[in-house]
């Protein structure tokens, strides 16, 4: 297909199948057209009706999630969600997956994942102020894992650092179920004026459709279709479908777009992400109940002889589509010229509700725009209720508690991620109040106002019990923001699952969403944006169900923010919540006993709210000196984090090992000056919150776990050692 003049291929059932369209979907397409499609039309249909763009399997269930609230300005359905943070300011944020491309080409795949999500945020008129990423890799011993970790981390950093946004949080986990299908979920958070948000809905007939940004090449053709299929052993052959990122152009595009938006020239704007020009044009037209007519002769191309099919399906990066006020054309063009970017009028809005593509004087496509866009097919796929695991039988106490603690602290999932986040610029923009290593990232907005951001999910919980696991992902996000002193406001989600055509996978999806929805309602924590990534399978093996939750919270005074590190010798260590007892699906059971068994911990949402509100109150009143939530690794894991961060030891008074390693929910560790202890405990009792003193910050270079002493240097060596050693090989 190098020559535009060449005859287009004949439409055969094989060609239709290659485009990922099922026979019944193709029938439906022909029915809409009343004739056989052209090759370009088939490509457009394939791009719009694939799972990635159409949400055809997930829509029914997504509609049941809570998406409104008093601070929600814009919920799902736009480029990103928008929330009100007072003073006329708004936060624009979203998380999106780039799983398939990152597995095939880790550097560019992850880099363009970051680029894509940044664009989603600044398309709405917001300047990106923080980035996060949730990464999941196969087991460390898998031959591809090291290469993928190295490439993905470099790619995430390479794009974000160059673009100039601080990376303030994220997750890195390993599990064999990601061996053939890693997850790269990138989140971006931007700041805008609440009354200057830009949307993608086109308005007005006969207005110019403008192409902005970088030129179109042949990269990324069919990226979205690839992302909607399972992998097999030939995944590497799909490398040409991976896009190539250029963060410098993106930075220029950001500045040019914000400058243009400030002039009032923009009526509607949409970034070209998945399915490029096709998807952006169709979405803008379909949302605005308008037709769009494009003349591809005017599209800036970086390669010669590109066909209509290639231009419509290219996923070249750093591009935008905009509906412009015609009288502002000259001024707008000048702005883009100054930033060294393309600016081309490539079409116009019409009142026909048709999506018409012309190239070299020939109509290459003429499609009904609504049916391509917001009226794409929707399925109610069959699902079965996931089986719940049998209760966990007796677990024997470890024969060597010290060895168990060191093993846990130095395990791939529990050890320090310093090797990763030191490759990310966490400081640029000069507003970072808390960088990775704590419960949440904190970034100043202005004056003393700040927001906290976090990314969370515990996939092994979701695998064992999708409903409880879904609840837990939301609860942990809420807890992490609370632990730094922020009030959680809203979340974005990135739902990564296997093949939805399998009823047991669809069942996981349905139940995880049910759990998430319930937690969001109980915690007043609506979902304002998100992304669904299905077909995360290789050779029939699905990933662990991974509904990543990206949370944003608000803090009126960052000077009162809590951190995890122990501050002073003699401070009391308090446990908020019940004593640890639940070992099912715990990190201890997995890393020390080598078992992934039992049900995950139950999440009592009312208790979660009560305990969290209490802890946040203590932080804002300045009564505590350090706070950490209890999650993976239980009390032991939390205390080790706090001791190592502060280079101060501790003495713990604990009963049996379950108290140390149990992953019961709704719990926090905090420290306070000795004089505050009685006051805090009394307040807790008044509010009906469980609280107990479990130890003291000591001046010694060791942590005493109820009689078992482990030196800080040993803990530090285990905690800091694993990642660099693994990466060195």
């Amino acid at each position: 297909m190098k020559n535009a003049a060449a005859a287009e291929p004949k439409i055969t059932p094989e060609l239709v199948a290659q485009h990922g369209l099922k026979p019944d979907e193709y029938e439906r397409f022909i029915g809409l057209l009343g004739r056989e499609p052209t090759f370009t039309e088939l490509g457009i249909c394939s791009a719009m009706w694939n799972e990635h763009c159409s949400y055809k399997s997930s829509k029914k269930w997504l509609k049941q999630l809570p998406t409104t609230g008093k601070r929600v300005i814009q919920g799902p359905g736009e480029n990103a969600g928008v929330i009100d943070i007072d003073d006329g300011q708004a936060i624009v944020f979203k998380m999106e997956s780039h799983n398939h491309p990152s597995f095939i080409e880790p550097y560019q795949g992850s880099a363009t994942g970051v680029g894509g999500i940044l664009r989603d945020v600044f398309t709405m008129g917001a300047r990106p102020i923080a980035a996060l990423n949730a990464l999941r890799f196969g087991e460390p011993s898998h031959p591809k894992t090291r290469h993928l970790v190295s490439g993905v981390v470099a790619g995430v950093g390479g794009y974000g650092n160059s673009f100039g946004v601080p990376t303030l949080g994220g997750e890195v986990n390993f599990h064999k179920r990601y061996n053939g299908n890693i997850l790269v979920n990138a989140m971006a958070v931007g700041l805008a004026d609440a009354d200057k948000i830009f949307y993608s809905k086109a308005k007005g007939v006969g207005l110019p459709v403008v192409y902005l940004g970088a030129k179109t090449g042949r990269d990324g053709i069919h990226g979205a279709t690839m992302a909607s299929a399972e992998f097999d052993d030939k995944a590497d052959e799909k490398r040409p479908t991976v896009q190539v990122g250029d963060p410098f152009t993106e930075k220029c595009l950001l500045e040019a777009c914000l400058e243009l938006m400030a002039t009032g020239a923009v009526i509607a704007i949409q970034d070209m992400g998945a399915a490029g020009l096709t998807s952006s044009a169709v979405e803008m037209g379909a949302k605005g109940d308008l037709g769009i007519e494009l003349n591809l002769d005017d599209v800036p191309c970086r390669e010669e002889g590109m066909t209509a099919y290639e231009m419509m399906l290219s996923e070249s990066q750093e591009r935008m589509l905009m509906i412009l006020r015609p009288e502002m054309e000259v001024a707008s063009h000048a702005i883009f010229k100054k930033w060294g970017l393309d600016f081309a009028i490539i079409g116009k809005t019409t009142d026909t509700l048709r999506f018409v593509i012309k190239h070299q004087g020939v109509v290459k496509a003429d499609l009904p725009i609504k049916q391509m866009g917001d009226e794409a097919p929707e399925y109610d796929r069959p699902w079965v209720e996931p089986k719940r695991p049998a209760p966990l039988g007796d677990v024997a106490a470890p024969s060597d508690l010290k060895a168990a603690i060191l093993k846990l602290v130095g395990s791939p999932d529990m050890c320090s991620r310093r090797w990763v986040w030191e490759q990310y610029d966490t400081l640029i923009q000069s507003n970072s109040a808390q960088v990775p290593g704590g419960d949440a990232g904190v970034v100043r907005i202005s004056g003393t106002k700040a927001i906290a951001v976090s990314s969370d999910v515990t996939p092994r919980y979701v695998e064992a019990d999708a409903y409880e696991g879904g609840k837990q992902a939301v609860a942990e996000s809420w807890r992490n923001l609370t632990a730094v002193g922020a009030t959680p406001i809203a979340i974005t989600d990135n739902l990564n699952f296997g093949n939805p055509e399998r009823p047991e996978i669809m069942g996981q999806f349905v139940f995880a969403l049910k759990g998430m929805g319930e937690a969001c309602r109980a915690l007043d924590y609506p979902i304002v944006s998100g992304n669904v990534s299905l077909y995360n399978e290789t050779n029939g093996q699905a990933i662990l169900p991974t509904p990543t939750v990206g949370g944003v919270g608000l803090m009126s005074d960052w000077r009162k923010m809590a951190t995890v590190k122990f501050k002073a010798q003699g401070d009391a260590i308090l446990l908020v919540g019940t004593k640890g007892s639940h070992l099912g699906q715990s990190a201890y059971l997995r890393d020390v006993e080598g078992r992934e068994e039992g049900p995950p911990p139950f999440v009592d949402l009312a208790l979660e709210k009560k305990n969290g509100d209490f802890v946040r109150g203590l932080i804002t009143d300045g009564q505590v000196t350090a706070v950490h939530d209890i999650s993976d690794g239980g009390l032991a894991g939390a205390v080790v984090d706090m001791a190592l961060a502060g280079s101060l030891g501790a003495e713990l008074v604990v009963g049996d090992f379950r108290e140390l390693f149990g992953e019961d929910q709704a719990r926090y560790v905090l420290t306070c000056a000795p004089l505050e202890v009685v006051k805090i405990i009394t307040q807790a009792h008044v509010k009906g919150v469980d609280i107990v003193r479990v130890g003291t910050v000591s001046g010694l270079d060791e942590v005493n776990f109820g009689g078992t002493v482990v030196g800080l240097p040993e803990l530090s060596a285990a905690f800091e050692g694993w990642f660099p050693e693994f990466m060195t090989g």
């Binding site: 160059s162 673009f163 963060p247 410098f248 610029d425 640029i428 000069s430 960052w558």
Partner: protein
């Protein structure tokens, strides 16, 4: 370039003077006492870092005025740019570990007679963040001997915190005339309570005395 606002904010806070931000295609500088070439990624740094920016139109004037004695500070990418422009000797290679690194390091102030260090005691060690992929300072033996002999190493990574493999732990240097300073670390990211420490505030205060 993308750290210009961090730098502008730090300069403004310390000096009370709002700096001019000039566009790369401008051809002449406004009438100023100091030029700061800030950090970032100029033109994406897809070629050798700083190489293209060193040849951008505005740099001709920066170079000409620096040679006449105008004070210039280059930080991070700015250090790379002024080195590429020939204002300072040596070159900044990829970090020895071949990875970008963002962390806090210890900086020893080796020379407190410069216009950027006169408010700090000689030999003092301050905390300062770094954030770069190419900060591994290298020069020929003769140049190194001169830099060390003439006290032109201004900042040195201390206490084993060299993050990039730079020769003699060199973090920042000054030219022979004393009016051009280049450094890899980012003092502008450690000047207020929000940053956890304010170790680098005295550097900016030095500018007022100079």
């Amino acid at each position: 370039i993308n750290r210009e606002h961090d730098m502008a904010r730090a300069l403004h806070a310390a000096t009370g003077i709002k700096p001019h931000i000039v566009w790369h295609t401008d051809t002449s500088l406004p009438d100023v006492d100091l030029v700061v070439v800030p950090g970032g990624f100029s033109y994406g740094d897809y070629l050798r870092c700083g190489a293209i920016a060193a040849r951008s139109p505005i740099m001709s004037d920066v170079r000409a005025k620096a040679l006449k004695g105008l004070k210039v500070i280059g930080v991070c990418n700015g250090f790379q740019i002024i080195t590429e422009a020939g204002l300072l000797p040596g070159v900044l290679m990829r970090n020895a570990q071949l990875r970008f690194v963002c962390k806090e390091v210890k900086l020893k102030v080796e020379n407190n007679t410069t216009f950027f260090t006169n408010r700090i005691a000689k030999g003092a060690v301050v905390n300062c963040p770094v954030a770069h992929g190419e900060g591994n300072y290298i020069c020929d033996a003769e140049t190194l001997k001169r830099l060390e002999g003439e006290g032109r190493v201004v900042f040195r990574y201390a206490e084993g915190t060299n993050p990039n493999g730079a020769m003699n732990d060199i973090a920042g240097i000054v030219n022979e005339a004393g009016n051009v300073i280049g450094m890899m670390p980012h003092p502008e990211n450690m000047v207020e309570a929000l940053h956890g420490r304010t170790d680098c505030k005295p550097l900016f205060e030095s500018l007022l005395a100079a």
